[in-house]
Assembly symmetry: C2
Homo-oligomer: 191 residues x 2
């Protein structure tokens, strides 16, 4: 990649976020994003297949790292806790909590972006299920642990990203799990 | 609506399902769907905004019925169970289990349709949360009950629609909830 192109992906993501905030996702074109980032549209399409994907530049890397963490977990006898712990301990802040907060707000406000976000979440769930299966967890358990674990974490993540008080994501996730515990029917196995 | 158009929506859905099965979602055009259903493309667009939506003709009605069931539930002190029971008792068969099975398979096999299916699921979750809030359930509990309840039900639904043995959806949902019970950390509240 020519040196002048270094940082183009980051600049494109930042430009897209600004434009989506200013004028909405639907009203923003790839040409405008490229102009704002001072690159050609051809450069845009070298990095991203469409204007949705520009907010999900890191998603393949994030998914791969999370899946690897499941494959590397020392013990998966409590698969639901493994899933929530791995999600809660991941470095979601990346380039800064303020940027994550803006990105979260833009996705929530635009159905076209939300749809893409949901399929990315689904991709993570599908690969978590496969990883748990590879670790010897049965199909039904792997499915429920992955799908429910992601929802427990997501409940904590929304609070974390929408609040501005330096709350700890791990503690919020533990609180969401404790709340789930009160919602699930009391253990008949222990009767 | 002119009499000759009655049943057009059903014919379009059936035609789309056949074509998606035969040649894939991506390779099928609105023109082909309309031709197969013996209507004009103009008629197609009178019913559906795009070729994804043709498999989700009933989604608004289904969502409204499910949300109403939450608003009408005699008791929401166990909100997670309210959510799973309402989903498990809904008449998902509609025009037949064979058709539901084909629809499920086509959606699972085509990312473009899966994306739409995920956003429909998300719409249901969002309205469930609102309905539970209206019933006096607090925000965190409403969110977790709706999101986790939908995942518990979805685990049962996948088994139900993929199996061909007349299994009972309610029993499969109860089994999924019992499995979740074994995955959630033992009730510290009872320590």
């Amino acid at each position: 990649m020519p040196r002048w192109e270094q940082g183009s992906a980051d600049r494109l993501t930042k430009a897209a976020l600004e434009l989506f905030e200013e004028q909405g996702f639907e009203n923003t074109s790839v040409v405008e994003i490229a102009d704002r980032a001072r690159v050609t549209t051809r450069t845009f399409f070298r990095y991203f297949p469409d204007k949705r994907e520009v907010l999900f530049a890191e998603s393949d890397r994030i998914r791969a790292a999370l899946v690897q963490a499941i494959l590397d977990a020392p013990d998966v006898t409590e698969p639901l806790q493994v899933v929530t712990a791995i999600l809660a301990e991941f470095d979601w802040i990346g380039p800064g909590i303020a940027l994550q907060r803006r990105r979260h707000a833009v996705i929530a406000a635009n159905p076209g972006l939300l749809e893409r976000d949901l399929i990315k979440q689904n991709d993570i769930a599908v690969e978590f299920i496969q990883a748990l299966r590879r670790r010897g967890v049965d199909e039904s358990t792997a499915r429920l642990a992955a799908r429910v674990g992601i929802q427990v974490f997501a409940a904590a993540y929304v609070q974390w990203v929408e609040r501005d008080d330096g709350a700890d994501l791990r503690k919020l996730t533990d609180a969401a799990m404790a709340l789930l515990q009160t919602l699930v029917p009391a253990g008949r196995a222990a009767d």
